[in-house]
């Protein structure tokens, strides 16, 4: 499978290709615009949206600030309810735990509920290497898996595909994975959904091991919550004998009551529904109903490094609704793949460089993948100030400084490739703290203005390849002001 992001090019280069792909642009434009309007409507239905958003922010912040205590409480409650809790510091540890648990059941295939955490750690590939086949059962994940593709959206990983492309993938690939697509499959969404239903049903009915993530884990009760639409989640959570849930440590909420906030804000923010079709909640195991064995794998994988950053830790409030992706003008044009991570869009641009560090080319470029327009912050149901964190991470890239990697305090060096910019910024600072220097520069520009081109060579082409330059005026404002004392001395 090509589902990895290793060696991804920097965001601007990947985005350039996407911007020129008219089919992709059309698909994204159509999908994000459809959902944008609906979300706004669903949110407007609740008069107390601002209060719910603030409560959500505060619940998450409080939990994160006392996360050690709440994680211990989760462990205690889940264990008391008949579950087993495992702890994984990184992706390799988590994958090894899950592979071992599957092997202990004697099974060689598993069915999966859509889960960002298991995508993040590359679980499917790790299981494949151990001879275990993982079947994705969410419709969009199925499209991605059958198409040997990469996810491009948090909620709808196949958002970059339109119905015609999905039809082609189903018709071509389903046979190799199990029940083939029906003869004469058309691109009607209802028919495509039906093809997925038939293809996956046999897998659900014979599955002995299910693997999921979770949207929330309630510390006081040990309850896990999975929010979904299709029923594939319910299938994986209730039909198998063994259930393994891989959950990021930031998914904890303190109390049962806290769900009253998120069960209102999450569905409206993600699918723009008053409530998603299915929500499953389970606490350990239940005699005679559902899996007999339940394992919870608590995953760090860069989360504690993120937690250590006082500005950046707010990214861990994220409840993975994808409202920020749907509203983002950059995401709409660059597409999800350009972000080089399972977490695309604005939240990905602040999450990936924190979870993985800013060492790689793609991760160092992500904080710049935004015009800082603030639409993401505006729609975020837990009020993550994404522009603030983007700017903070830009500083980390250009300046380096203290950070935490793999649990260790480190001092990062400034990233390469910003030397010219750094010099320019320093020169500008020098000039801007000396009004005389600024004025001299302005006058020089005005006097030579007849020789200014409308386009620029070299690095300036980045501007002038698509935009003309403004004409430089005959004199800067300050000269006019001084000459006329603000117009008082003109002949008007």
């Amino acid at each position: 499978m090509s589902g990895t992001f290793v060696g991804m090019p920097a965001f601007p280069r990947a985005a350039r290709t996407a911007v020129r792909d008219t089919t992709l642009r059309g698909n994204l434009r159509h999908a994000t615009r459809t959902i944008r309007g609906k979300r706004a409507q669903a949110v407007a239905e609740l008069a107390d949206w601002a209060e719910l958003r603030e409560a959500g922010r505060r619940i998450k912040d409080h939990t994160l600030r006392h996360l050690d205590r709440y994680l211990e409480q989760v462990e205690e409650a889940v264990t008391a309810a008949g579950g087993t809790v495992h702890w994984a510091a990184d992706a390799d540890e988590a994958n090894a735990i899950v592979a071992q648990l599957v092997k202990e059941t004697g099974e060689s295939e598993v069915v999966k509920v859509k889960s960002m955490a298991t995508q993040e750690i590359g679980l499917n590939e790790a299981l494949e290497a151990e001879g275990i086949r993982a079947y994705e059962t969410d419709l969009a994940e199925l499209i991605v898996q059958l198409g040997r593709d990469r996810p491009s959206h948090i909620l709808v990983p196949a958002i970059h595909r339109n119905r015609g492309e999905i039809r082609d993938i189903f018709a071509r690939e389903m046979g190799a994975w199990g029940r083939p697509a029906p003869e004469g499959l058309t691109d009607r969404p209802a028919e495509l959904a039906e093809a997925a239903r038939l293809h996956l049903r046999e897998k659900f009915l014979r599955a002995k091991v299910g693997i999921s993530g979770a949207n929330f884990v309630v510390a006081e009760t040990g309850t896990l919550v999975v929010v979904e639409s299709e029923g594939n989640g319910r299938m994986c959570l209730t039909l198998p004998e063994t259930l393994i849930s891989v959950v990021g440590i930031e998914k904890v909420v303190p109390t049962w009551r806290d769900l009253e906030v998120f069960l209102q804000t999450l569905p409206r923010s993600s699918t723009a529904e008053r409530m998603n079709p299915y929500t499953s909640m389970w606490t350990g195991t239940t005699d005679g109903d559902g899996p007999r064995a339940f394992h919870l794998v608590l995953l760090d994988n860069g989360r504690t490094d993120t937690l250590a950053d006082e500005v950046g830790r707010q990214a861990l409030r994220c409840i993975r609704c994808s409202a920020c992706l749907n509203v983002c003008p950059v995401y709409e044009r660059a597409g999800g793949h350009a972000y080089g991570s399972v977490y695309p869009g604005p939240i990905g641009a602040i999450l990936s460089p924190q979870l993985r560090g800013t060492g790689s080319e793609i991760d160092a470029s992500l904080p710049y993948a935004s015009s800082l327009c603030g639409a993401c912050y505006e729609v975020c149901p837990v009020a993550i100030d994404i522009p603030e964190v983007l700017v903070h991470l830009r500083e980390r890239v250009v300046r380096g400084g203290p950070a935490t990697r793999d649990g260790n305090k480190v001092v990062l060096r400034p990233a390469k490739g910003h030397a010219a910019e750094r010099a320019a910024m320093r020169a500008a600072r020098w000039a801007f703290t000396r009004p005389g220097a600024l004025r001299a520069g302005q006058r020089l520009a005005s006097r030579t203005r007849r020789f200014h081109p409308r386009t620029l060579p070299g690095p300036g082409r980045a501007w002038s390849a698509s935009r003309d330059l403004p004409a430089v005026p005959a004199e800067p404002f300050r000269d006019w002001w001084q000459r006329t004392r603000g117009g008082k001395d003109t002949d008007r």
């Binding site: 107390d48 419709l139 997925a196 209730t238 409530m275 504690t304």
Partner: protein
């Protein structure tokens, strides 16, 4: 060092800036949001439930307790059902007027066997008007989670107004987290094709909700 100690140690080091004695949970979260949206009479709340259920393509029916057996018999007939799964604690009277084959909900039944059953009839734990949601909690009249999942036709009986609440906060207050809970809002659906909603994927494609008034 175990994974547990490593992760917890990292968490504690990451939170070195957080004062030990911070505002406790009870004071950290302002709960200024509403317990329910809009003031409705009991009848209006039931009406809203019906509206919102229908909005997400559940088929809504209303009857009195005496009319329930014939209504259920009619729904099974109209769906063309030959068999129905029966939770162990379902009021036997509800199925008194139908001839279809009863299939018991037992621990040793298999998912594959359930796949051959046409319908399921259950009660519910609570219904939420503002969101058009019914919640099942595995009580004897609702059975194991899988019986409302594998068959393609689910008839869910809601006693009104007793089982109806206005809002999500009110529903959570009535539910026991120790029980396995399933919140259902309309039939199974997906938004995965072009972010547009299509009904009918893995869960029951037909959800019929009967609002029954107890006389």
């Amino acid at each position: 060092m175990s994974g547990r100690e490593r992760v917890l140690g990292r968490v504690r080091r990451a939170l070195a800036d957080v004062p030990r004695e911070e505002v406790p949970y009870e004071q950290a979260v302002p709960r200024g949001y509403l317990r329910e949206h809009g003031g409705r009479s009991v009848a209006e709340t039931v009406e809203l439930l019906a509206e919102n259920l229908a909005d997400y393509r559940a088929l809504v029916h209303r009857c009195t307790d005496t009319g329930l057996p014939s209504l259920i018999a009619g729904l099974l007939r109209r769906h063309g059902s030959a068999s129905v799964v029966v939770p162990p604690g379902l009021d036997p009277g509800w199925l008194a007027e139908t001839e279809v084959t009863r299939v018991a909900d037992t621990a040793d039944g298999t998912p594959r066997a359930l796949d051959g059953v046409d319908s399921v009839v259950t009660g519910c734990a609570v219904a939420v008007a503002e969101t058009g949601t019914i919640v099942l909690d595995g009580s004897p009249d609702q059975g194991r989670r899988r019986i409302t999942l594998v068959p393609d036709h689910h008839i869910c009986v809601v006693r009104v107004p007793g089982q109806v609440v206005a809002s999500v906060p009110q529903a959570l207050g009535r539910l026991d987290p120790a029980r396995p809970l399933t919140w259902i809002s309309g039939p199974s659906a997906t938004s995965d094709i072009e972010l547009d909603r299509v009904e009918g994927v893995h869960g029951p494609r037909t959800l019929e909700v009967v609002l029954v008034t107890v006389r």
